[in-house]
Amino acid sequence: MADLTTDFLGIKSPNPFWLASAPPTDKEYNVRRAFEAGWGGVVWKTLGAEGPPVVNVNGPRYGAIWGADRRLLGLNNIELITDRPLEVNLDEIKRVKKDYPDRAVVVSLMVPCEEEAWKDILLRVMDTGADGIELNFGCPHGMAERGMGSAVGQVPEYIEMVTRWCKENYDKPVIVKLTPNITDIRHPARAAKAGGADAVSLINTINSIVSVDLDIMAPNPTIGDKGTHGGYCGPAVKPIALNMVAEIARDPQTHGLPISAIGGVTTWRDAAEFMALGAGNVQVCTAAMTYGFRVVEEMISGLSQWMDEKGHTSTADFIGMAVPNVTDWQYLNLNYVAKAKIDEDACIKCGRCYAACEDTSHQAIAMSEDRVFSVKDEECVACNLCVNVCPVEGCITMEPMAAGTVDPRTDKVVEEDYANWTTHPNNPSVQAAE
């Protein structure tokens, strides 16, 4: 069985599955249960500055979208940082870390953008024996209105400044948690690096309204007769998170900066994908909140089995393996030609490929009287829509054309050599350069 032990910034954990800073890590009680269930580490729910704690709403904090059978696909929340006294949290962190020395305990922090405030909290965190800190520059609701959370994360200069304060006043790893509520994730990541961050973690939740109650005409979740935007997470956000992780992993300015990936990790596969895109570990919240802490067992066994199958002996073997294969559109090989192929034996004759192609794409699928569906190679641009709408996995495949054969759509010979947009004759900048 593969060794899942992970070393992230020198913080060791028995597996790469950490619980993200969120409700599941708000209290000693929960965190102990998580560690007993097998989680490799936790990022303790965000602590605020000394003084009266924040208060939460007393109505619903969460909203969700579901599949037909109530499978939870996306969750949003309007919960703030911990609403428990700072001292209570610090005491609990200290006790838990002492009892679980082999697990990662990182403390999430969010205090006003003043150096003294940060210095003060850092001193107190140091005393807990926690393994590191995570700067919450991500929360998009509530705290942002008070100049914290994503209000900081949206200004690269602030990120750099606060990160630097922390690095100067704290001797253990500093992870900067990024908000996805920006236009280009590379800028905040670069700022974190410039400030000396040991790692970034992302994504925090995405600003969202999950649904509108059409009877009371207010967004869900509704507090009385009003609602507000909340932070969106869960399986639905994974593609967005994957891209942001990849952007940072392949950006020359941040390449190599350790990443703790967050965003819809629900199974081992999600974790493997994030790690392939450069994440050193993953943080999980929604899956645990949906199914309870035991889900980590599947993540551990699944990742381990996959690593065995692939011959990976440690997580370091495959971290970042997919990064070189993430490129810009302009570098994609325009000489690569594929055609859809329908396996008639597997086909159940629903005709979704036909409807999709005929109505919304390239009219490249023929339908016979007796519902036999076939691809018209002379029309097919290999867009993959038919594959995506087909209910039978593997029934429609994209078959690359061999070099030297003629593409019946263009009547051109498929070239062996790679050629991309940068050299394409239709590219105006190529012509301009001539």
């Binding site: 037909a68 059978d69 109530r70 159940i348 004759k349 629903c350 979704r352 409807a355 339908m367 039978v392």
Partner: protein
Amino acid sequence: MATSHQASGVQAGRLSADQIAENFSDLHAPFDAHEAAVAADRCYFCYDAPCMTACPTDIDIPMFIREIQAGHPEAAARTILNQNILGGMCARVCPTETLCEEVCVRETAEGKPVEIGRLQRYATDTLMAQGVHPFERAESTGKTIAVVGAGPAGLSAAHRLAMLGHDVVIYEPKPKSGGLNEFGIASYKSTDNFAAREVDWLLQIGGITIQHGQGLGSGLTLEGLKAEHDAVFLSIGLAGVNALRAEGEDKDGVRDAVDFIAELRQADDLTALPVGRNVVVIGGGMTAVDAAVQSKLLGAENVTIAYRRGREAMGASRFEQDLAASKGVKLMFNVQPVAVHGNGAAAEIELEYTASEDGKLSGTGETVRVTADQVFKAIGQTLEGAPEGLELEGRKIRVSDSGRTSVDGVWAGGDCASGGEDLTVTAVAEGRDAAMDIHASLTG
């Protein structure tokens, strides 16, 4: 008197009222909203969907299921009822396993079709529970149309004609409307008096009057109807029952399955309905299964369906066969009745094994006797009481695709008319299509 499975003869009260109630409860419990959402989510919204093609009434099945998915079962009901005004009953009694669900692509893929029938019921029940009738009559055309027979074909034609602005008079010899929906069909498929409730709901369209106790041969003639109305639609069903042509057929305890079912359907108290200890049903269609299963549910100890051909030739679907088997009904194949024995009342039935050569059936000479204090004949119904002058095809009234008979101004549909299977859904389609043709011919 203590009765039970074992009490001999044809007796009432074999089971307690509670057992009877449980036995005759809904065959398929209705979906609740969540079950419907999950079931609906399985639909792939096929292009030119096979289910729709398989439906005799051409219901836009993918669309109504999508409307359920989107949280509007009422809209789904309208989509259904647009094509099939008896969509509520059809959801209950259609042999979906040989129609829409048989060709569902998920049946092909997984052997588990989208549960179209139950979804249709969910939609139509939702709408009907709201007491909503979603159709309105067009402006009056001043025409009146006679419909003979208030079964599925007649009701379907009447509703469509009324909707198009015609006035309709339905003549129904029986004291209640609904035809086989009311008097045929197993009770557990139409619980809570659904057939009658559906008729009441259908009549909300207005413009339809029903004259009970009147039919062809009982006060009416085709000539008279033609003279009084602008068009006539005949939906008189198949009133005759085929004879066994077996010795002893006249003994006590031998009766037509359709009569037994009708009596059962109309009974106020099923514990008072007598049934034999050892029941043999002769036949292989839905009526045979309905009679056999209900005998068992009434408490008969042994119930046997004796069918003269093999399983594959049986008119009842495999689902119906399995339903019968699951209720404890024994299925005998390749046997035909030769005699009913007994001293005045049936005690045994003698069956002869059959062999089929090139589709032609003959007895092998070998016989077997089965204890039977009650024998139900379910070997098919025949046209009876059709007016003179109408051309027949086979043993039914010959009609065109749009339901025209050989007589001008007279249309026919349902079981009495040629073409199509003898199913509620087919009757509804024929009634609807004839109505459209009547409308076209009266207004064109």
